[in-house]
């Protein structure tokens, strides 16, 4: 920072001229700090926007969740959540959908990321488009596409009947299966990209060394490559799981009212019943679940890195 300090001298001379004191380390330090504080002020418009439109409303919702219908302080909404069977079902559905989506994404996304990571540069760039195109395409459009493909007279049913796989149109959409297919499709890029990134960061010499020491290709993969790619897989799975917890559009369209997730229940409470208290309480629980998952996972991931470091990895 020596250059920076020299540069600050000019302004600190002004400062000293104003205050009438001799230039000294104390003044320079103070000036540098003030300058940094002023630069920090550049954050304020963004910070203001995020605070006014998101942080304060969320705090307000938190407050609302503790008010009963008469406006008095109570745990009524939370109490109802613990008692009611319908709430338990909503939370169970949310967890089920999130967990299954994450699992399927990991199982089919990992091989794809591995394939992409092994390809030569140019071919990888071309194949990467198949991951990036859905990533950039509106999730509403993709959800709609699945609705069209999976409906009773849709492509999947028509083709399957033509091929003789089944005789009468089966119900693939407006239930859990349809929701899962759509969710996996939407979430897959969020898993593939971090896994691909972590695979690219693995030093290829490790695998070569394993082969050189007599490991068969599968052994080299499972004992050396796979453990090193795990942080990326965990990170990707975490992103997918957390995004699924709060997901709304795809289950609302492809679930056909049979798959009610927490976020859908929140909007229903606002749009149909104008029950801000109950909606806020659900929202608070959803937020706590999301942030809690992130917090616990970040602890686990760090732990994993430390363990990996201890074994001589990265």
């Amino acid at each position: 920072m020596s250059v920076a300090e020299t540069l600050h001298t000019r302004s600190s001379v002004d400062h000293d001229a104003r205050s009438g004191g001799a230039p000294n380390a104390e003044g320079l330090k103070k000036d540098a700090f003030m300058e940094r504080l002023r630069l920090f002020g550049l954050c304020s418009p963004a910070l203001f926007l995020v605070t006014i439109i998101m942080v304060l409303p969320v705090v307000w919702l938190f407050y609302l969740s503790f008010l009963n219908d008469d406006g008095a302080f109570s745990f009524e909404h939370y109490q109802r959540m613990l008692d009611g069977k319908s709430y338990a079902r909503i939370f169970w559905t949310t967890f089920q959908v999130s967990f299954l989506t994450t699992l399927i994404c990991a199982v089919i996304g990992y091989p794809l990321a591995y394939f992409l990571a092994q390809l030569p540069r140019r071919a990888a760039a071309i194949c990467m488009v198949t991951v990036l195109l859905p990533f950039w395409t509106s999730l509403l459009v993709r959800t709609y596409a699945w609705l069209v493909l999976l409906q009773r007279k849709g492509l999947i049913n028509t083709w399957a009947i033509d091929l003789g796989l089944w005789d009468t149109p089966i119900k693939i959409v407006h239930n859990l299966n349809g929701t899962l297919i759509g969710m996996v499709h939407i979430m897959l890029p969020f898993l593939v990209l971090p896994v691909y990134g972590s695979m690219k960061a693995i030093d290829a010499n490790f695998v070569k060394a394993a082969a050189n020491l007599g490991a068969r290709p599968t052994q080299a993969f499972w004992k050396v490559f796979f453990p090193l790619s795990l942080p990326g897989l965990f990170a990707g799975a975490l992103i997918v799981f957390v995004l699924c917890l709060g997901f709304f559009v795809t289950p609302a369209v492809l679930g056909g009212g049979r798959v009610i997730m927490v976020s859908m229940s929140i909007t229903d409470k606002i749009e149909l019943f104008f029950n801000w208290g109950a909606a806020s309480a659900l929202g608070v629980v959803l937020l706590v679940l999301t942030l809690g998952t992130l917090f616990i996972a970040s602890r686990l991931l760090k732990l994993d890195k430390i363990l990996g470091g201890g074994k001589g990895g990265h």
Binding site: V3, L7, R36, L39, F40, L42, C43, P45, A46, L49, V50, I53, M54, V55, P57, W60, L61, I108, G109, L112, L116, Q118, C127, V129, T130, V131, L132, L133, P134, W136, T137, S138, L140, V141, R142, Y144, A145, W146, L147, V148, L149, K153, L155, H185, L188, K208, A211, P217, F221, G246, F248, A252, V253, S263, I266, T267, I270, G283, T290, L294
Partner: protein, 273 residues
């Protein structure tokens, strides 16, 4: 079959051993792309039930879309909102990223977390929160309110992209410009900004697409004359499968594809390509 028995990597695995991997990866790539792309030919079908391949080709759903005042108004709102979100979120995000980077204060990472929190908080919660505030401020169904809410959602993306670019940028260049008499603002505009322009373009495109594709916040705070395209589509989807949506989908796929191509062409420096 020389290719099959040739080594596929530096361990002694052959392409034949890897055939299962190629199959799985190929199927997953088809799974990713086909549903998005197949809507395009289907949108040119004459039938009420979208067919593939269409028995009779027609552009009637496109006509229906372009002749509907409602859909046109929604498209206009979406494009305007996305454009103004881009113009708002990009400078705010750049300022925040630069401010955090050069000030380097102890609590900077805390501010960073607050600024990227719109990405972590479930969107539904953001939606009802914004709705609540706007109801008090009488800003529901206004374009300005929608732009502000979407800008807030886009700021984390801009911040992350620009911060990453600044980390690999040599700040001494700006110091040199300032030692030669340029003000900090001028030094940034003339020296730093042109060198991080690829990140700026990428983040601007991301801000645009964030707003253009956003559904949930729009569901709460856009309505009436200022309904967005995604809001109208979502409402239409819940009721019935209107083939007009296939034509709108096709147009949206084209928009996002061209944005992706732009990001690939202009959003990457030579060294990254």
């Amino acid at each position: 079959m020389s290719w099959f028995s040739s080594p596929a990597s530096e361990t002694q695995i052959t392409h034949a051993n890897r055939l299962w991997l190629y199959t799985v990866a190929g199927l997953v790539m088809l799974f990713l792309v086909v549903p998005t792309v197949i809507v395009i030919p289907m949108s040119f079908s004459d039938s009420q039930y979208l067919e593939f391949p269409p028995r009779v080709w027609s552009v009637r759903w496109y006509e229906h879309y372009f002749q509907s005042d409602q859909w046109m108004a929604a498209t206009r709102t979406s494009l305007l909102a996305a454009f103004f979100t881009m113009l708002t979120a990009t400078p705010l995000g750049i300022m925040a990223a630069y401010g955090l980077f050069v000030s380097n204060l102890r609590f900077a990472h805390l501010v960073f977390i607050v600024l990227i929190s719109p990405m972590m908080v479930p969107v539904v919660l953001v939606g009802i929160g914004v709705f609540y505030v706007y109801a008090k401020l009488k800003m529901v169904n206004s374009l300005g309110g929608l732009v502000l809410a979407h800008s807030m959602l886009a700021i984390p993306l801009v911040l992350i992209v620009i911060s990453a670019a600044l980390k690999s940028y040599d700040m001494n260049q700006e110091m040199v410009a300032r030692s030669l008499g340029a003000s900090r603002f001028r030094a940034f505009m003339v020296i730093t900004l042109p060198q991080i322009r690829f990140a700026v373009i990428t983040s601007a495109l991301l801000a645009f697409i964030t707003s253009f594709d956003e559904v949930i916040v729009a569901l709460f705070v856009s309505g009436g004359d200022n309904s967005t395209l995604t809001r109208s589509m979502f409402t239409a989807l819940r009721d019935q499968i209107d083939p007009t949506i296939a034509s709108i989908s096709t147009i949206m796929v084209l928009v996002s594809t061209s944005l992706l191509v732009m990001a690939q062409l202009f959003g990457k420096s030579k060294s990254e390509q």
